[in-house]
Symmetry: C2
Amino acid sequence: MEKIVEQTLLFDFYGELLTDHQRSIYEDVILNDLSYSEVAVERDISRQGVHDLIKRCNKILADYEAKLHLVAKFLLIKEKVELIRLSTDDPERIKKISDEILEEL
Amino acid sequence: MEKIVEQTLLFDFYGELLTDHQRSIYEDVILNDLSYSEVAVERDISRQGVHDLIKRCNKILADYEAKLHLVAKFLLIKEKVELIRLSTDDPERIKKISDEILEEL
């Protein structure tokens, strides 16, 4: 998976577990695509400070996923629902995929 | 939702965020249905200690759900997949429900 997509997904799932300060800066860099330098000026902190905060947040979010695996679970379910969406004329296949999802949930 | 079902679900999702000690005692009481007294004897701690630990774990798990809402999200998806499972002969309905799930995810 592309790094930015992965970061966005992890943030989507676990972002609320960051502090307000971390979340706000992480959003500026990862979601709003500001550069470290822009954020540094805007917040009156060092560029290195922004860099360290992003690195730390990436680790926090990745650690939650390593423990909970909820993003992975969600991606798997999404894939299967997309398969259902493409198989609406095949009742047997839909039964099979639905059962797979329900076992997963 | 029945309290024991809710506790089991929350533990399923967020249990890995408890310490090994908390998780092990929580499992004995909530999943294996041992009494506080039984666990107290088995672990050589006070009955009150077991009671406090369970109360604390319930709060930790509920706090994670209050922030992340992932159990609620997965329950909603589960409900919709069960609807799909019951509507395999109705392609239009399956399309509609799949789309709803994909929007949710």
